[in-house]
């Protein structure tokens, strides 16, 4: 594939001179991927600071550092930033770097739109963080923005709503780009069923994004109208209903957590075969299971609302539909284990993260099934049990998979091997401190400790102290990752085109670091 670059010799001239304008105006999928990853890593630390502020306040009962309003603002911003500005952009960054390399394409289908998707993120992050400093402070109703609280709050809520709009446009544009790239830019001969599994998971994720993100846009727009233009969508006095917001929000919100986990499945399904030195066991089943999860995910939103007064029929429907998701998810776990079965296994850093992912993600999945049971959920709604559950799937699921992917592909991106010893330290410290932080929260939740409250009765003190110590340990361990990444970029053992002997895929046929333009000739896919 010859690349026609619009401008005389632009492709070559650009790679020598990298000023500010160079990074601002890039249309190159690798550079935009790097921007995405750098942005999401920095927002991961911003969101992490909010998390540590929360854990510092909860170290002891009573109010030590923050008043309850500020505490709730931290809770809200922590959720918003981690979901929309850290994890989602990180996966888009992986898609940007890897999809063209994996599909044998010269770039994404819409390179300029790709850059716009990225450049909507910093403005959204600015809005979210700056909202802390406006009168009334940031939105304090949690990332779910439930009315009537969200109708009553100050300007910070408007900034949050507009931030969500920008983030929504960004991810919709990104998803459209990925869909067009996967359907239209694959190398000749690469049929859909020959596609790397990471591309499959992203294709399905992109479809989830275009299905649910516009719905989020519509519901926050209605929220804005309720706040400022006198409508009564979520106000019973005007014939509306606050529960309507919850329905529409969770129609988006539940698929959203699958948007955050399906690409993680893709990364783990790529890393495990490499280090087991066996092809993925049951590729077709993996594709089918991913489609099944995505399809089921848009029919289960009611399990977030078991306590709002559903009719029993509705509760049963959402309960069984939710439990059904365990079937394709179980298929995936069995596929990973069967891939490792009798494999010639080694445990380099990416593999440690991937295997660790299976272990902790499974715990999160099992507490998910427990919470799916309506009768149980009514007891556990809004307790720390729920907090523990979704951090097991978000942190131990999405984040651990992101680390697996980062350690796996950093040699391809930088041309250097990462520091294996430090990588392993990073893994083991994260694994231990993660469980220290969140495992005890199951007990707190079962004992009845509510979430989003800065104070608690004395009997919860020990577990909260353990959790806070774990959180600070986990946060500090992540600084190791920055050190490893910087070290890997600056030097280290030279990684050849294919640093992992068991790896398969087109990305390992190009040099490391991958040159500015790749696949100027279409690769042959048998």
């Amino acid at each position: 594939m010859a690349i026609v670059v619009g401008g005389e010799g632009v492709g070559e001239a650009r790679s020598t001179r990298k000023g500010l304008r160079y990074w601002l105006s890039s249309t190159n999928h690798k550079e935009i991927g790097t921007l995405y990853l750098a942005f999401s890593l920095s927002m991961f630390f911003v969101g992490g600071i909010f998390a540590l502020a929360i854990r510092a306040e909860l170290f002891q009962p009573g109010l030590q550092f923050f008043n309850p309003v500020l505490f709730n603002q931290f809770v809200t911003l922590h959720g918003m930033i981690m979901v929309f500005a850290a994890i989602m952009p990180a996966f888009v960054g992986f898609a940007n770097w890897q999809l063209p390399l994996m599909l044998g394409a010269p770039d994404m289908a819409f390179p300029r739109l790709n850059n716009m998707s990225f450049w909507l993120l910093p403005p959204a992050a600015v809005l979210l963080v700056a909202s802390l400093f406006v009168p009334g402070g940031a939105a304090a109703g949690g990332w779910t923005m439930y009315p009537p609280l969200s109708v009553q709050m100050g300007p910070g809520m408007d900034m949050l709503i507009f931030g969500v709009h920008l983030l929504g446009i960004s991810s919709i544009a990104g998803a459209i780009n990925i869909i067009a790239t996967i359907f239209n830019m694959r190398a000749p001969g690469m049929t859909l069923m020959k596609m790397p599994i990471f591309a499959w998971t992203w294709l399905i994720t992109a479809y989830l994004i275009v299905v649910v993100m516009p719905v989020l846009a519509s519901v926050v727009t209605m929220l804005l109208f309720d706040r400022h233009f006198g409508t009564h969508f979520f106000n019973a006095a005007g014939g509306g209903d606050p529960v309507l917001f919850q329905h529409i929000f969770w129609y988006f919100g539940h698929p959203e957590v699958y948007i955050l986990i399906l690409p993680a499945f893709g990364i783990v399904s790529t890393v495990i075969p490499t280090f087991a030195r066996k092809p993925l066991f049951g590729y077709r089943s993996m594709v089918a299971a991913t489609i099944a999860i995505a399809f089921l995910s848009i029919w289960v939103w009611g399990h977030h609302m078991f306590t709002v007064g559903f009719p029993v029929g509705g509760q049963l429907f959402f309960m069984y539909a939710t439990m059904l998701i365990a079937v394709p998810t179980g298929v995936k776990v069995f596929i990973w284990i069967a891939t490792m079965w009798r494999g010639s296994m080694t445990f380099e850093t990416p593999m440690l993260w991937a295997v660790g992912f299976i272990f902790v993600f499974l715990l999160g999945g099992i507490t998910g099934i427990i919470l799916a049971c309506a009768a149980v959920d009514i007891q556990l709604q809004d307790t720390y049990y729920v907090v523990a559950h979704f951090h097991y799937v978000m942190v131990a699921g999405s984040l651990f998979a992101l680390f697996a992917g980062a350690y796996y592909w950093l040699p391809k991106w930088t041309g250097h091997m990462c520091d294996e010893t430090l990588g392993r330290w990073h893994f083991w410290l994260s694994m231990i401190f993660f469980n220290l932080t969140f495992f005890v929260q199951h007990f707190l939740g079962l004992a009845g400790m509510p979430r989003r409250i800065p104070d608690y009765p004395l009997q919860f003190t020990e577990f909260n102290m353990i959790s806070s110590i774990g959180a600070f340990g986990f946060g500090l361990s992540q600084l190791l990752f920055i050190y490893v990444v910087v070290k890997c970029i600056r030097g280290g053992p030279v990684a050849g085109p294919k640093p992992w002997d068991g790896a398969t895929g087109l990305e390992w046929t190009v040099p490391s670091p991958a040159p500015h333009h790749t696949f100027t000739k279409p690769p042959v896919v048998a």
């Binding site: 026609v4 408007d158 919709i172």
Partner: protein, 297 residues
């Protein structure tokens, strides 16, 4: 930005015969980040305006102007590249995937709004008039159209007769007109294409004029506002967002018409016409649904 120079297409011309396909990768562009900055100004202005901040309306107006300039600049680059013929069949297919998926997201956006109408009519209003809620709001009868138990202002709902019915016919006719335009473009009948596009545009504008009249009627004769409970909110949000989309669609039709007059839409290169045609049919279908569930039922 300077228009892209296509001389580079020849930079590896010697080896051209080796390549099965050539793919266009645009040169670096400042338009994406300009879009990001302008949108930040826009929402900052809107946040200030909504909360009574002093520079809000001014900032909002400046940002809207800048947004228009940015969009014009970005699309001028794209149109320039299109006219230079650098978009091959593969790029064309990418554009089609992109536009189709974008329209699908629009469908989902309206899906959220229609779901709201369904919910208030079938669930929240009946609930407020029956059972436990009825004890809270004893005078509320429910039914549809309704405002809500806490609103005393009498409701005069919109009639489907007159302008809405006429507008339905107008929009359906415009759908036929743009389909005719597509057929004319494919068979190279330029005069027919121009007439069909002008007709589509005229019908679209006539529709918007009709809607403006309807809004005037609603506000001044019937006292219907956004604040008038479930009916007022759902009526205005659905017709309002639809009207906005017709405005965008009509602008797009005007651009296609202009580009046709400049001989830039040809029997072989007419993605823009197809894209606008799909979009126009989308706003037509939304209106049809809206006419049935908002006006008729």
């Amino acid at each position: 930005m300077k228009p892209p120079a296509m001389a580079a297409a020849a930079q590896d011309g010697a080896e051209r015969h080796d390549y099965a396909v050539e793919y266009f990768v645009p040169r670096p562009s400042m338009w994406p980040i300009r879009t990001g900055i302008v949108l930040l100004l826009l929402v900052a202005g809107a946040s200030l305006w909504l909360n009574g901040g002093e520079p809000g309306p001014g900032l909002l107006a400046v940002a809207l102007l800048l947004l228009a300039l940015v969009l014009i600049g970005w699309f001028r680059d794209i149109v320039g590249e299109g006219n230079q013929g650098v978009y091959d069949a593969q790029v064309d297919r990418s554009f089609r995937w992109g536009m189709a998926t974008f329209i699908f997201t629009e469908v989902m956006f309206f899906g959220g709004l229609f779901a709201t109408l369904f919910y208030v009519r079938e669930i929240s209003i009946p609930d407020l008039a029956h059972g436990l809620s009825a004890e809270l709001w004893p005078g509320f009868k429910g039914g549809w159209p309704a405002t809500g138990p806490g609103i005393d202002t009498p409701l005069h709902p919109m009639s489907w007769r007159g302008a809405p019915a006429l507008n339905t016919i107008i929009l359906l006719a415009s759908g036929v007109a743009i389909t005719w335009a597509g057929a004319a473009a494919r068979s190279g009948k330029r005069t027919q294409l121009i007439i069909a596009l002008a007709l589509t545009l005229a019908l679209g504008v006539r529709f918007l004029v009709g809607q403006a009249g309807e809004y005037h009627h609603a506000f001044s004769d019937l006292g219907l506002t956004l604040g008038l409970g479930a009916y007022g909110a759902t009526f205005f949000i659905l017709t309002g967002f639809h009207g906005l989309h017709v405005t965008i669609g009509a602008t797009m039709v005007a651009v296609v018409l202009a580009r046709t007059l400049m001989r830039q839409v040809t029997p072989t290169s007419h993605f823009i016409l197809d894209a606008v045609s799909w979009y126009w049919h989308f706003v037509g279908v939304v209106w049809l649904l809206l006419f049935v569930v908002v006006y008729l039922l």
